[in-house]
């Protein structure tokens, strides 16, 4: 086993920012708006770094798909303890239409290329709330999946997982290699401390294009309209 973990991190609009819909209703305003790492991806990175600190895995590789700015998100992952980064360069129209299916194809290709033992993702992104990438990636690789994980422990070449589901907590045991998606209570992400932030500047980020991985990122979905939810009316007692 390579002992390598691939962690997917997504650059999303910061959750504290008030979202505004573009006047032409084609999407939301992203220019000049504060972006940061998806909170669930942070939890995934934290889990990967924890596993490395426990010496259960050897290397953590952070991956992000998007434009140039996605490199900042990878840097944050590096500052939290990831070893190196891979930036899959997708920009312009392709980026606007990038969805779970394309990302999961990219991750599957990278997993094969990097000989990854484990893929850790956030359960969903806070901008589209799809909750599909992890599941699709596992299907494409024909790997077992442990989604909504609130506890992860490695036991030899198997993984014990506790999943948070509607009915309560489900305990499962899956083989490696596997895909795990992190839920909220898996851990509390650490603050990146200064020494690590300084070290992260020196860690490598490699840029690749989807075509290099043999992935076609054309979307089969077309966004027709984006509009704000109806304004909340004042209640009456």
């Amino acid at each position: 086993m390579s002992g390598r973990v691939l962690v997917g991190v997504k650059r999303v609009i910061d959750y504290a920012v008030k979202i505004r819909v573009k006047p032409d209703n084609t999407g939301v305003v992203t220019d000049g708006v504060k972006h940061s790492m998806n909170p669930f991806c942070e939890i995934a990175v934290e889990e990967a770094v924890k596993l490395k600190e426990k010496k259960l895995i050897k290397e953590v590789v952070a991956v992000s798909c998007g434009p140039q700015q996605s490199q900042e998100t990878i840097r944050t992952a590096l500052a939290m303890g990831a070893d190196r980064g891979i930036h899959v360069d997708v920009s312009g129209k392709d980026y606007e239409n990038l969805g779970p299916l394309q990302v999961s194809k990219i991750l599957a290709a990278l997993a094969k290329q990097e000989d990854a033992q484990l893929i850790l993702l956030g359960k969903q992104a806070i901008d589209d709330d799809c909750n599909q990438t992890g599941q699709m990636t596992a299907a494409l690789l024909d790997w077992p999946q442990g989604t909504f994980a609130s506890e992860v422990s490695l036991e030899g070449d198997k993984i014990n997982l506790v999943r948070e589901i509607d009915g309560g907590l489900e305990h499962i045991k899956i083989n490696t290699p596997a895909v795990i998606t992190a839920d909220l209570r898996l851990n509390t992400p650490r603050y990146a401390t200064l020494p690590n932030i300084m070290k992260a500047k020196k860690k490598k980020i490699v840029t690749v294009k989807p075509a290099d991985l043999g992935v076609d990122v054309t979307s089969r979905l077309e966004v027709l309209k984006v509009e704000e939810p109806p304004q909340r009316q004042a209640g009456r007692v």
């Binding site: 910061d14 008030k18 504060k34 603050y191 401390t193 200064l194 020494p195 932030i197 500047k201």
Partner: protein
């Protein structure tokens, strides 16, 4: 008067005469009165008045040298010397007895004075208020109660009437009426003040600005916001942020404090380092004076040198010169890039060096420089369950940068952090650029006050000192108090030279208070610092004004107060020392 009282008054009279003779050469009239006044009733006060007149008359016959000495700044040494240089222990003993209350206990200068002879509220008065404020004249004790107690739960008044006007006109009618009826009025905003200035001492009518919360105008070109005095600071911030501006001040109490109160107390806050004080950012005020006159100085002009700048008098007047009803304030643009850094230092000297490094390398993008000590962190961990984002250090710094270009700021910040780490000024730290993390790091500084309230009864001191000496006061206080206090913490706006020194005890402890005061004030005065940097004087610190201001200046303040509020109905018992009220 009973026989006992008669005997005592004669004894007092005799003692005063004796003291006057002995202390004639070196006693400052104000400090003499300050020591003597607290426990005496109106009859005694009359006696003392006569004594003072005699004294002044004698003084005029004296050497002019002595006169000039007495008007010099009151230093802590002088404060005690008239009595200490006197030969006999007997004199000292009798002065201590003068200090004593009826039960022999020492009365603190921060305790409330006797009730002044204002009228009491009658049914007729209530009928008048109900006529102009239909449904907003509150007499239900349960509803008035929260406005009778301050945020620290340290002082309680016994007001029975809470008025909630919505317009300046209503305020004017209320004050005009109260002035003619000699009813005392306590203007109240968010009631977040920390010196007991926002709540009644006795039965003063509470005049709340809470319903005066309209934003009147915002000019997006000049950035001038005009609003009523009852607007909550956080709401104004939200309003401005949508329009790409921010308020020039920010403080932990922003969710409750109102802009009128902020202006009345000349609030400082976390952004003063960058945007300056309210004296600079407030462009105009609309006020109602004690007699009900509306003073419209609500200008929105940046520059206006036509006559005396009256609004400056009211900024920081703590509701004693007039009631602020509207404010126009200059707001800065919302910075496009905000970074917050949380650092840990081993010593205070390193902290100061970090500050110098910060100023030189971050320069114009620096917008806040705050510190807290390890005791504060312990309280945050224990009472609020907020974790330490970095390793444990003796001192922590919160630095905020605000600028218009994220790349430029990030580069400057990176250079500064690299320098700070390589020169070992800083032992650990973390950086936040995301909104959520920024809030989390700021809450470590903003919520110390809250954590302290959970630790026990808090004694708060807000001191301005030369920057290098700021932490010395905390260490000296710890040594001085030893085991008597539960916690002694220091935190604050180190960038502005402003220390918040707090001492906690399991419950209210007069012995502890006696150990803390006047030690803390004397220490401050010995560095020529301010005994109240931004909290104001209110009720608790009114008599300590002489530690930081000359008696001539205070006397002039008294004259101004008498001119603007001859009956003294606006926020009585506050801000100005008791000995001025003759």
């Amino acid at each position: 008067m009973t026989r006992d009282k008669i005997t005592r008054s004669f004894q007092l009279h005799y003692k005063i005469k004796m003291l006057l003779k002995i202390s004639n050469s070196s006693c400052c009239p104000t400090c003499f009165l300050q020591l003597v006044l607290p426990p005496v009733s109106t009859v005694m006060a009359g006696l003392l008045k006569r004594a003072l007149r005699l004294r002044t008359a004698l003084r005029c016959l004296c050497d002019y040298n002595m006169l000039s000495r007495s008007t010099a700044t009151l230093s802590p040494v002088d404060f005690h010397s008239p009595f200490l240089t006197c030969s006999s222990e007997q004199v000292l003993a009798s002065t201590r007895k003068l200090h004593a209350g009826a039960d022999g206990s020492k009365v603190s200068p921060s305790a409330a004075p006797e009730r002044l002879p204002f009228c009491r509220v009658t049914e007729e008065d209530l009928a008048f208020f109900r006529k102009i404020l239909a449904g907003r004249t509150i007499v239900d004790p349960d509803l008035v109660e929260p406005s009778n107690v301050d945020w620290l739960k340290s002082v309680r008044g016994s007001s029975e009437v809470l008025l909630r006007p919505q317009t300046t006109e209503e305020v004017s009618q209320i004050l005009s009426y109260c002035n003619s009826r000699n009813l005392a009025v306590n203007p109240q905003g968010g009631n977040t003040g920390l010196v007991g200035g926002s709540v009644p001492v006795y039965d003063e009518i509470i005049l709340s600005t809470s319903l005066m919360n309209k934003i009147l105008n915002f000019d997006s070109i000049s950035g001038v916001l005009t609003c009523q005095a009852g607007c909550v600071l956080e709401n104004l911030s939200f309003y401005l942020e949508e329009r790409d501006y921010i308020m020039p001040l920010d403080l932990g109490a922003k969710g409750s404090c109102q802009i009128g109160g902020n202006v009345a107390t000349n609030a400082g806050g976390l952004r003063l380092l960058r945007y300056g004080s309210l004296h600079g950012t407030v462009l105009g005020l609309e006020l109602v004076l004690a007699d009900g006159q509306v003073l419209d100085c609500l200008s929105t002009l940046r520059k206006d040198n036509t006559g005396y700048d009256l609004k400056q008098l009211f900024i920081g007047s703590e509701g004693t010169l007039g009631v602020i009803t509207a404010v126009s304030i200059l707001c800065p643009r919302k910075p496009k890039s905000v970074n917050v850094v949380f650092l840990g230092c081993e010593t205070f000297e390193q902290l100061l060096k970090t500050f110098q490094l910060c100023k030189s390398m971050l320069g114009e993008i620096l917008s806040a420089f705050e510190f807290l000590d390890s005791e504060c962190m312990r309280l945050l961990n224990t009472h609020l369950k907020l974790p330490n984002p970095i390793s444990d250090c003796p001192f922590y710094i919160v630095i905020e940068t605000s600028g218009s270009d994220p790349t430029h700021d990030a580069q400057k910040l990176h250079n500064f952090l690299e320098e700070a780490m390589t020169s070992s000024l800083v032992s650990d730290g973390t950086v936040a650029t995301e909104e959520a993390k920024i809030k989390a790091l700021w809450s470590l500084r903003e919520r110390v006050t809250e954590a302290l309230t959970h630790d026990g009864f808090t004694y708060k001191y807000d001191i301005s000192l030369p920057v290098e000496r700021i932490y010395q006061l905390v260490t000296d206080m710890r040594k001085h108090l030893g085991n008597r206090a539960k916690s002694v913490v220091g935190y604050g706006h180190v960038g502005d030279g402003n220390l918040h020194l707090n001492v906690t005890s399991p419950s209210k402890d007069p012995a502890l208070l006696a150990a803390i005061e006047p030690f803390v004030y004397e220490w401050t005065a010995s560095c020529r610092g301010s005994i109240s940097a931004e909290h104001g004087l209110g009720l608790k610190k009114r008599n300590y004004i002489y530690y930081s201001k000359q008696s001539q200046a205070v006397a002039l303040m008294g004259n101004i107060k008498a001119m603007l509020d001859p009956k003294g109905i606006l926020n009585p018992y506050k801000t100005l020392p008791d000995n001025l009220k003759q």
